[in-house]
């Protein structure tokens, strides 16, 4: 009987257990370490390991790295890893939140026009020559962010006005329409200005190349705000999942929860896109992978998606910059290469009624 009880509880863990959190931390830490040790420039991993150790307070070891090698570790690899951590975490948590709010397993962070808006913004910045590729005052991420924000705002204004009722379908349809419109304009501009085609194309495929810590600093405040909001709403998403009327009859206002989560998830997606371009599939496959392991409670899926999304993007970026070194693969290609087959697998399981 006791055994039986234990088993059932394991089937449905509703709260984050310390074991799960510890596991997620271990995966993330391992990803960071591996990514720090390997790269296009070969530096002896054991020395990097010593170098990392030497930075802990109270430990003084000479790692034997040259100044240039030290700079590669701390100013090239690490900021890129941290950016991957933030962007991967943001996209995965935004995806999990969207899936919870729309109660649709196929929702992704680009759903409401974020991608198309950012694409248009970035294209305009590139075509107009406003981007100089230089750090925190570069026009490109700002234009991409504004593009996303405008696209999502239009989607919410139109879809929200139509869908004053309890339906989210009008919001999704508005998102599709807005995305088509923005993509059409973006394609038109891109065709007219074919000289910049390559640059636009490479942005659209996504990349995590950084110039020191600028991108990390730029994205940090938005990341913090949106993550705090999404984490705090994870319980409400579970209540929402019970059903609209049940939620209402229990005193919860589903519409308010929905607006807050949609706002935070869109902010997360827009800021991720602004610094890294359109990285595909992280927002869809990571939450589903988490669900396959821990079940569908949003109180688990939302926070764990952060760790797994961060680890996934750090590792795919390692592949992107080493597979064809010294050339770099666009990270969007790598995530999609691994993401698409997995996604098909999830889809197949779904049609079997397993999820």
């Amino acid at each position: 009987m006791d055994n039986n009880k234990k088993k059932q509880q394991q089937e449905a863990p509703a709260e984050l257990t310390s074991g799960l959190v510890a596991g997620a931390f271990v995966i993330l830490f391992a990803s960071i370490l591996v990514s720090l040790l390997f790269g296009p420039v070969s530096i002896r991993p054991d020395r990097i390991f010593l170098e990392v150790l030497s930075r802990f307070p109270g430990i003084s070891i000479d790692s034997g790295l040259s100044t240039i090698q030290e700079a590669i570790v701390w100013d090239v690899r690490l900021p890129r890893i941290v950016l991957g951590l933030i962007v991967g975490g943001l996209l995965a948590v935004a995806g999990a939140s969207y899936q919870g709010v729309f109660r649709n397993p196929l929702a992704d962070p680009y759903l409401l026009g974020v991608a198309a808006g950012a694409g248009l913004g970035a294209t305009i910045a590139i075509v107009s020559g406003a981007t100089n590729g230089e750090g925190i005052f570069d026009a490109l991420p700002i234009a991409a962010f504004l593009g996303s924000a405008i696209a999502v705002a239009i989607t919410l204004a139109v879809g929200g006005a139509v869908g004053r009722s309890t339906s989210t379908a009008s919001l999704l349809l508005a998102g599709v329409a807005v995305a088509s419109l923005f993509t059409a304009i973006q394609t038109y501009i891109q065709q007219r200005e074919s000289a910049t085609l390559r640059q636009v194309y490479s942005w659209i495929l996504g990349r995590l190349s950084t110039s020191g810590w600028d991108e990390v600093i730029m994205i940090l405040p938005y990341a913090a705000i949106s993550l705090i909001v999404m984490f705090s709403m994870k319980g409400a998403l579970d209540v929402l999942a019970v059903g609209e009327e049940e939620a209402l009859s229990l005193g919860i206002r589903p519409r308010r929860v929905r607006w807050i989560v949609i706002g935070a998830a869109s902010l997360a997606a827009a800021s991720a896109v602004a610094v890294s371009g359109l990285i595909a599939f992280v927002g869809i496959i990571v939450p589903h992978a988490v669900r396959l392991v821990v079940g569908a409670s949003n109180r688990l899926v939302v926070p764990l998606s952060f760790f797994i999304g961060a680890s996934f993007l750090i590792l795919t970026d390692l592949l992107a910059r080493t597979l064809q070194s010294p050339a770099e693969l666009p990270i969007g290609v790598v995530t999609a290469f691994f993401g698409a087959p997995f996604f098909l697998f999830v889809l197949r399981r779904r049609s079997d009624g397993i999820i």
Partner: protein, 252 residues
Amino acid sequence: MSSETKQQTRPDMIACENVDKWFGDFQALKGVTATIAEQEVVVVLGPSGSGKSTWIRCINRLEAHQRGTIVVDGVELTNDVRNIEKIRSEVGMVFQQFNLFPHLTVLDNVTLAPKWVRKMPKADAEIKAKELLNMVGIPEQASKLPSQLSGGQQQRVAIARALAMEPKIMLFDEPTSALDPEMIKEVLDVMKDLALGGMTMMVVTHEMGFAREVADRIIFMESGEIVEVGTPEHFFTDPTEDRTKLFLSQIL
């Protein structure tokens, strides 16, 4: 205690006056006027499409009425969001489809709203939930998932979930209509206990046995109107209205 005494001696919990409700051109409620006293159990009967469900859904504002007044525990239902929230926190509702959260245990289903809405500490919410599961007769199912339970057990969890918010009024919208006949009794028994415990209840159902045995008063509706109101004895043995007689002849 007879119904008349309850109605005469206790204050009104629900008071509806001339309530009209349209869906487009279709008038679903026509001048519905009725009061339900504290601790009273009222069963609403009537054919399908008579407006029974629409009416009780208006009482916690899942539907908005367009004319007339609905006052619940002294608070009038208007578009004022604060009033609606106050009412919803005092009115529990059980639906035909129990819609438990499939990925949470029975215990978590019951504690979710108190923890989230009432900010009740987890330990307190769980003690309360276990009491309620005990009350609805399934304390041993606390750690199971809804899919491991029978329909009747799931509906009892749904009742416990509504009770966890400590409502003053419980609304039941055809709570046994989706159940296998063999499981109806276990749900009705829980509702009967609740009624005996003094809960103010409004029940839309087709279960005549329950109406006869548990109700203080029966309200019979047809075509959006209240046709007849009376004690079960009056209603089943000596109804006044022809429409009531016709309904009873078809159903009994």
